[in-house]
């Protein structure tokens, strides 16, 4: 085991310095037991152990004795941790390639994930597994996750035709023009990165060059939503679809106007999205949505109609259909997701980048 530990250490050091390459080679030979020692000689692992313990002995004989006795145990722990780390890094690399994040279970914890809100996969904790008798599931978790990532590798290679993933009643930023390609953004009204992408899409002119549509995806968490008023906002947006505000002046569809209102940045003070996420209770949020509808140009009676529609099972069913497309067809684990020109992005795409499309 000590040879393996030594090989790991020297292999890493050898990457940075040629000095350690002969040691790495020696350690490797020791690992695979191909080295033939002269009878007068000592094997590599004993030599290295002796050197480590000998150096330590200069400073503390007691510590040297302790290390000598437990060296094999330390080596075993080191090797196990190293192998585990190696597997962890490898699986993280796989996740990064497949999902665009090195930690699908907690997207925000991976700095390589880019600007995105995680659709975090629920992972059973060890304690919960013990309590619920699901130790097998817990133990198999890492392997299951790797398996899932592997079978999703083709997703990274395929061409993402946005038309195939439109909502049943798709709403476009501008009136549909068959000469323009379709692009779709998957957004959660509560996700600040979705707000950022929507702004970039407008500023980059995508909204003019493409038939831009959206899929609403309030990010679910256990028995709730990641952002408490996401579903409510989604319901109102969905309900406002295909409705014409009686006093409206904007050429944009009402649902897009509502999205823009939710995503708007005030000149001063806290932005509305943040208030929806952490400031408003459900009732306050609903009142605020009605205020926004009024601003868009809906009359009071229309607002009541939108509110009724938002609360209806039909609207909920529409949202569930969109959720199903996201979860079963697009299979994203972080949003905003943008499907454009056959490509797919699972994070905020910069304005500059979007101008290339």
């Amino acid at each position: 085991m000590f040879c393996i530990a030594a090989f790991i250490v020297f292999a890493v050091l050898a990457i940075f310095s040629a000095t350690f390459r002969p040691f790495a080679a020696k350690a490797w030979h020791c690992v695979i037991r191909r080295i033939s020692f002269r009878p007068c000689d000592i094997d590599f692992s004993e030599e290295l152990k002796g050197k480590i313990v000998g150096k330590l002995f200069r400073y503390s004989p007691a510590a040297a004795g302790f290390v000598d006795r437990w060296m094999e145990v330390f080596s075993t722990i080191f090797v196990v941790l190293s192998v585990w780390s190696l597997l962890y890094v490898a699986s993280s690399g796989l996740y990064l390639y497949v999902y665009g994040t090195c930690n699908p279970g907690n997207v925000e914890s991976c700095t390589l994930s880019g600007d995105a809100c995680g659709v975090n996969q629920t992972q059973i904790s060890f304690v919960s597994a013990v309590k619920t008798g699901q130790l097998g599931t817990w133990a198999a978790g890492p392997f299951t996750r790797v398996y899932e990532a592997v079978i999703r590798v083709p997703d990274r290679l395929k061409s993402w035709e946005a038309e195939k993933y439109l909502a049943p009643e798709a709403s476009y930023y501008r009136p549909f023009d068959p000469k323009k390609p379709v692009a779709i953004e998957i957004i959660d009204p509560g996700c600040r990165f979705c707000k950022k992408l929507t702004g970039n899409l407008e500023r980059s002119g995508i909204t003019e060059r493409y038939n831009l549509s959206y899929l609403l995806y309030p990010i679910p968490v256990e028995n709730d939503y990641k952002f408490p008023n996401s579903l409510l906002m989604a319901r109102y947006i969905e309900a406002a679809k295909n409705m014409q505000p009686a006093n409206g002046t904007s050429p944009l569809p009402a649902d897009w106007q509502l999205i823009k209102k939710i995503f708007a940045d005030p000149a001063t003070g806290i932005d509305l999205q943040t208030k929806f996420n952490i400031g408003f209770s459900s009732a306050e949020a609903e009142d605020q949505l009605k205020v926004l509808l009024k601003e868009i140009g809906f009359t009071d009676s229309q607002i009541l109609l939108v509110a009724e529609k938002a609360d209806s099972p039909v609207t909920l069913a529409q949202i569930k259909k969109e959720q199903a497309i996201v979860e079963n067809e697009v299979r994203t684990i972080k949003i905003p997701t943008l499907l454009i020109s056959g490509r797919r992005f699972d994070q905020v795409v910069s304005e500059e980048k979007l101008r290339e499309f």
Partner: protein
């Protein structure tokens, strides 16, 4: 003799401390010729290679600086100077062995192993009936004797050696045999006290007495004087000289050799399909010196012999000084628990093992404390590994560079290690 130093407590990092003997550095004195050796470094591997005193290094450097030429084949001034040094070295070696130029020649080789192979490999079996060797022999003797026996189709006998080194020949007829044995064991310094009797018995017939004296010259330079050997093999690097070997060989034996390893510097004339070897008292040794020689090595060996014959460490004769060091080392080692000394008698070469600690590991631990010694079976596998079944041993071999402080320090550190492991 130096007074023993007291172990000192060396504080380290304010937390740890270790008991180590005070080193020679604290005392600051090494025997003449070894001022360049760091007093912190405790070198105890003279049996492998002795340290070179300053005069030897100076002589070699002088050669490179001022007359860096070939010997033996040139007529220019530098070449002549080399020839003088080489000739001087041959004469001094003969003088050490108490032999005459008329009866013996001296040839320089790579080392003792090389010399033994060179002689045995070119020695026809003739009337020789067997080859006899000792059980404690170094592989440099043991292996060539196996090869000679195999190639010659003659039996090979391995005799036991007494605790004093005596070759136990009672039941063996040596008169027509090659007897090849060491005169100073590299395991425990055992000598060959019955060398003269063996020589006499061998002389009864056409037998030969070949001596592996690699270890001998460094400890007892003139110890072969009374032995009527046919060839003795030595190593400059074990007698404070450069890395070079030499053979002191009877001219009668030299003439029996059938050369197979010849070339430059070995012939006086060459024809289409034949050649005439150099001969005569001046050039006869050349059959064992094919090709260009290690001139700097020979020059250094010449200086090493001079140094060895005149050095007086702290006013003592080298033998007396070494004996005092050896006695103290043996006494200290024997007082340590778990230390099993292999030696039967006190010697500058002391081998031992420690119960519960692998010899190689112990050697590394000591090395990390700047104590350099040898571990393993010292190329005596047959005896140590198979006859005695010893685990890998530790060998402390002393030289004239060592001091009493070295002895105290190495045994003090060893004691600390034994307490820890």
């Amino acid at each position: 003799m130096h007074p023993p130093s007291n172990p000192c407590k060396l504080p380290l990092m304010g937390i740890f401390s270790i008991n180590v003997g005070k080193t020679g550095a604290a005392q600051g004195v090494r025997p003449d010729g070894f001022a360049h050796v760091d007093a912190e470094d405790c070198y105890l591997d003279t049996a492998c290679q002795s340290l070179r005193p300053k005069p030897v290094m100076d002589a070699e450097l002088d050669y490179y600086n001022f007359y860096n030429a070939c010997g033996g084949r040139v007529k220019h001034a530098w070449g002549k100077r080399v020839d003088e040094a080489v000739d001087s070295a041959r004469k001094k070696i003969l003088r050490l062995a108490g032999k005459t130029e008329k009866e013996y020649a001296v040839a320089f080789t790579l080392n003792t192993t090389y010399g033994i192979n060179l002689v045995l490999g070119q020695l026809p079996p003739g009337d020789l009936k067997s080859i006899v060797t000792g059980e404690t022999e170094h592989n440099s003797v043991f292996l060539p004797s196996i090869i000679w026996s195999r190639d010659a189709g003659k039996p090979r006998l391995i005799l036991k050696r007494g605790t004093d080194g005596r070759l136990l020949t009672e039941k063996t007829d040596l008169k027509d045999s090659i007897v090849i044995v060491s005169t100073f064991s590299n395991i425990d310094g055992r000598g060959l006290p019955n060398a003269r009797e063996i020589a006499a018995e061998v002389r009864c017939g056409s037998g030969l007495l070949l001596l592996d004296s690699a270890q001998h010259f460094g400890h007892d330079p003139e110890g072969l004087k009374d032995i009527d050997f046919d060839a003795a093999f030595g190593s400059g690097h074990k007698m404070y000289g450069p890395s070079i070997g030499f053979i002191i060989i009877k001219r009668t034996l030299l003439r029996r050799l059938i050369p197979f390893f010849i070339g430059g510097g070995t012939v006086k004339d060459v024809h289409d399909d034949s050649f005439t070897l150099l001969d005569g008292i001046v050039d006869e040794h050349s059959i064992l010196e094919p090709g260009l020689q290690n001139w700097a090595g020979i020059v250094g060996l010449n200086a090493a012999i001079d140094w060895l014959m005149m050095v007086k460490p702290f006013g003592k004769k080298p033998g007396e000084y070494e004996s005092a060091l050896s006695a103290r080392l043996m006494e200290k080692l024997r007082s340590l628990p778990r230390v099993k000394v292999v030696n039967g008698e006190v010697s500058p070469v002391i081998s031992f093992y420690v119960e519960g600690i692998d010899g190689h590991k112990l050697s590394i631990l000591l090395s990390e404390q700047k104590i350099m010694c040898r571990s393993g079976h010292f190329c005596c596998h047959h005896y140590l590994q198979h006859v005695m079944k010893y685990p890998p041993l530790i060998r402390f071999s002393l030289g004239l560079h060592n001091t009493m402080e070295d002895i105290d320090r190495c045994t003090s550190v060893l004691e600390s290690i034994l307490k820890t492991f």
